[in-house]
Every structure is written in C-alpha cells, then in structure tokens.
Assembly symmetry: C2
Homo-oligomer: 314 residues x 2
C-alpha cells in the first residue's frame, strides 16, 4: 500500500486573517505524520504525530490555543482508533496536559477501558508518566478574545460556526494508511468557546468524531459537535463506504446529509482501505492537507486544491 | 401507530438466583412506561418512566444498585434520544443523584449541549432543581459483594460477562413508539464492577448505547461497553434497518457481528418505525419485556418468550 496521511485543522467560518497560520501549521503537521510513515512506523503513530504538532500550535483549537469554557478554563478531549482491531482510546475533560492525543493513545494501548474523563483521565496520565502543566499555560490570547466576544455576542452552542469566532474553529484530526495497509484515525479539540463546564462533544465519541476499520477506511470530523454526534457522522461515512460508495462521495453525502437534517455545518476527511481520499465540508472553510508520493495537496476554501513538492527533512 | 414499549434489564451471565428479581422488576418498569404511552404522552416520557423504575430497583445496575469503581464509588451514566429531531441528552460520571436518566432528559430539553460529565453534570442538575443525595445511599450490598469478588478474582474489563458477577449485569434501557409514530430510546447504567475512576462506557455515547430516528427506528444496547462502542452497535443496527433489513434480523446480525469481531458479548432491543420488534443477545441471558395491545411479552433465556395479560392500574 502507498502510505498516505490526510489531516484537517478545523471547519468553520475561518476569518481571512487566520488562513495563513492554519495552512502553515498544517504543512508542518502533515509532514510530521508523513515522516513517521516513511520510517515504516504505524499509521497509529503517524496520526498521533500529526495531531501532536497541531496541539502545540496556537493556530488550532486543540492543546495550546484551545477555546475556553464559560468559566474561562480549557477542557480538552481527544480520541484515536486503530483499524486493525477496532481498538480505541479517548480522553475528555482534560485540563493539565499539552497533548490529550498522546494520553488517548496510551488509553488505547494500556487501559482495559476506551474512554476516561476528568479526574480519572488525570490519574491515568500521571500513572503513565505524563507531566502535568499549569492549566493557565494552555490559554492563548486568541482564546481569551474569543470568549470575550462570545460573552458579548455569542449565540450559545453555535460558536464553531460564528462569523466573529477567532478561536473556535480548529479542531484537528488525522487519518493515515501505512505500508502494511493498516488504518488509524485521531481527533483532538478544545471544543467550543463559551461551552458549559463539563460539556463533552463529538471528538471523544467513537463513530462521531473518529472511526477507523482496516476492512473499510478511516474518518476524522470537525464542525458543530452536537450535530456531528447526533448524526454519528464518522460512522455514517464508514457505513456508506462499506456499502460500496467511494470515499469522496461518502464524505460529501454524509456531511451534506447532516447539514440538511440538523442545520449546522461540519467537515470530514476520509481514507478508504484502497487509499482513496475524501474531503468535504459544508462550512465556509475547512483547512486540510494530505501527502502521498512526495506531493503535498492542501486547501482551505471550497473547491481549492494546491500542490507542493514534499521535501523530507535532512 | 399502535403504541409499543420494549425494555431490557441487562445482558450477561445472570445467576439463577437473580432471574426472578429481574423479571419482576422489568414487569413493573415496562408497565410504568406503557401507562405513560396509554395516557397519550410521548415516547420520550415513556422511556424515561421505564428507566426511572429500573434505576430505583436494586436488581438492576443503574441508579440505586449500580456497581462500584475500583475506589468503591458509584459513577453512573445515561442517555436519551428523540427520534423526531435526533435531539439527545446524556450525562456521565454522575455520583449524587438517583435518576441520571431524568438529568439526561433535562439536558436534551434545556441545554445547548448533548452530553455533560462529572462536575458539569452536577452543576447542571443542581441548577435545574434535582436534589442531590449522599453518594453512599446508592450503594447496595450486592454491589459491594460484586466489587469484593472482582478484587479477588476479576479479569479487568470483562465483569459484565463474568460468571461470578452479582452486580454487573443490569444496564437498563427502553425504546418506545407512541401513537403519533414518534420514537425514543434511553439507556442507563452503573458500568462495570471494578472499573477505573473516570471510565466512560458505551451508554452515554450516541450510536453505541442508544439511538433513535423516527425515519428508521430506535435501539438500546447492553453488554461489554468497550466492545459496543468500538462497533457503534446501536448505529450499526439502525443503518441495517435503513437499508431494508427487518428489526429482528438487523439486531441479530449486528450483535453477532460485534461478538464475532470483538470476542465479547452484548444484547440489544429494537423497534422499527413500523413497530417491528427486535430482541437479540449473544450473552447467556438478557432480561427483556415489551407491551403492545395489552399483552406483556418477556423473557431472559435464549429463545424464550412468555406472555401475560396487561392489567392497567385502576
């Protein structure tokens, strides 16, 4: 199989001023994942590496730069799934770690459970040697401004698609297929600006934010979390592909079907078991990128597809 | 549409000594739900009423009688879904309330979010007037004994199917269709004996534990939570029905498919939009019951189907 990695950096009304930062950050992240694949490592390690890069980058709503709850705190969540055996790991209501996706990966490999939340996620992370950081160190200026704007003007529960949202669009995700034909998918987010304390979105819910099955393909989604989970967006795309629909059509039909039924927007990235790529969003913008055969394809506006040559790190 | 309600009281290796208590408790619960339907109320109110009855009954692993975490505490979760508009409500990591399903219902009607966990779920419940109770008051003697046995003999993560488990088999759920043809589904659980603090299972994850769509049908599942969520069991059944499979075949194919792929057991109850009933379990036992046309059907062993006359309360 030709190794391929595809990532997204969030769907929504991304302001013009934030386009460049997202595209630059995505190129760094997709290369980080592709480098792992090129070393012969697993799809699972590749999607983690790509998501880790975006969690470190304040241009994305995940890890550092996550949006804030009504109480002004960061509460992050992430999930990762291995298509070979359907094993999954997820965390939610995480406050004190830079990389929720790495804790989620550890849940997958080391816990009898699939999803840990709040205090339990923290206890598990500490036990596994993850270093806690002061929760305030995850808060960016953009995230503070986004909460201030939300408190003045926000329509509750819709900030992922609000036109004035500076911090809310940037859930990140990655899907990869490695040379062995194994598929993995991962998603990480800070949620939505002004969310209630304790709100759990689509990202850690398997079948909503993330899904991977070597027999079919892999998906990561972004957009209005409550709509995505009501529609089980990732699993809907998977089931369409299982029934013979190609990856791009399945992604388009499911995303548009969700928006038509629930009147909110979303986006998704998809790889089929044959390596077909699917990218679609019903929002105004979604940043995405993929690398295959030493070419980086990327875009952020509808219908857009740029191509750069991939230069491996020396 | 002929109003119908179907419920389950949990799948697993239910010991002989617990069969009668479960069947008696299920008859009370299914009648409670059916009485609501007969008054012309919604399917949503009916499934809540049936689940509330089982949350009060220590014969079931939900509400009072929930199993305990490794730390000896109750951490409950529940979800409810309205098929008309796909709206959902869920709570997880709840410690101080007898009826998680009623808080979940309130999340559905009163929150911009779909799932609240831990401290956030508690804050929401208090704000909505739910009365907290001492967490210890939810602990039954059976649950204590189940944890003791688990600590001595338990294989971690498999207690829902352990032969010695006295408290772990009894996740509860209900699916109803009302005279208007609207469908709702609800599920509530204490999880698995000896689970890690902060473990979130399939029950609050939409598409895994619960799903309802007026265009297709409704499902509630029970069994090994981590397997159910990896397989998105409820949504898998829904998608089979959407593609023309009848309710009972869809339930059977999906439950057996999960067990074949993931080597753990589960059960599910299903209603199609046309009122067809589906019941299947791959575990040794699952308690289930439904009422339609003033007849109560019920069973707990494979292939079993008893019938009583339904006598409405005077």
């Amino acid at each position: 199989m030709v190794p391929t990695i595809i990532i997204h950096g969030g769907a929504g009304d991304i302001p013009d001023g934030r386009v460049k930062g997202k595209i630059d950050g995505m190129k760094v992240a997709v290369k980080a994942g592709y480098d792992i694949l090129m070393k012969g490592c697993s799809a699972l390690d590749a999607v983690e590496a790509a998501v880790v890069a975006m969690e470190e980058d304040e241009n994305f709503n995940a890890g550092y730069g996550s949006v804030l709850t009504l109480r002004g705190e960061v509460e992050m969540e992430a999930s990762i799934m291995r298509g070979e055996d359907l094993n999954v790991g997820g965390v939610t209501l995480v406050k004190e770690f830079l990389h929720p996706i790495s804790i989620a990966h550890k849940v997958l490999t080391d816990s009898p459970h699939s999803l840990l939340g709040g205090e339990g996620a923290k206890l598990f992370a500490l036990e596994k040697g993850f270093k806690p950081i002061p929760p305030e160190s995850l808060i960016s200026e953009n995230a503070k401004r986004a909460l201030e704007k939300f408190l003045k003007h926000g329509e509750f529960g819709r900030t992922e698609i609000g036109p004035n949202d500076e911090g809310g669009v940037g859930t990140v995700g990655a899907v990869a297929i490695d040379s062995q034909g194994h598929i993995a998918a991962a998603t990480s987010t800070g949620g939505m600006s002004g969310k209630a304390v304790g709100r759990i979105g689509d990202t850690p819910q398997i079948g909503s934010g993330t899904y991977a099955d070597d027999h079919i393909g892999g998906v990561s989604t972004t957009g209005h979390g409550e709509s995505i989970l009501k529609y089980c967006l990732a699993h809907t795309i998977i089931k369409l592909m299982e029934n013979g629909t190609d990856a791009n059509t399945a992604t388009t039909v499911a995303v548009n079907g969700m928006t038509s039924r629930l009147h909110n927007t979303a986006g998704a990235i998809t790889l089929s078991k044959n390596g077909e790529v699917g990218v679609h969003f019903s929002s105004n913008r979604m940043s995405w990128a993929y690398i295959r055969d030493a070419q980086i394809f990327y875009g952020i506006n509808p219908g857009e597809k740029f191509c750069d040559k991939y230069e491996p790190e020396k």
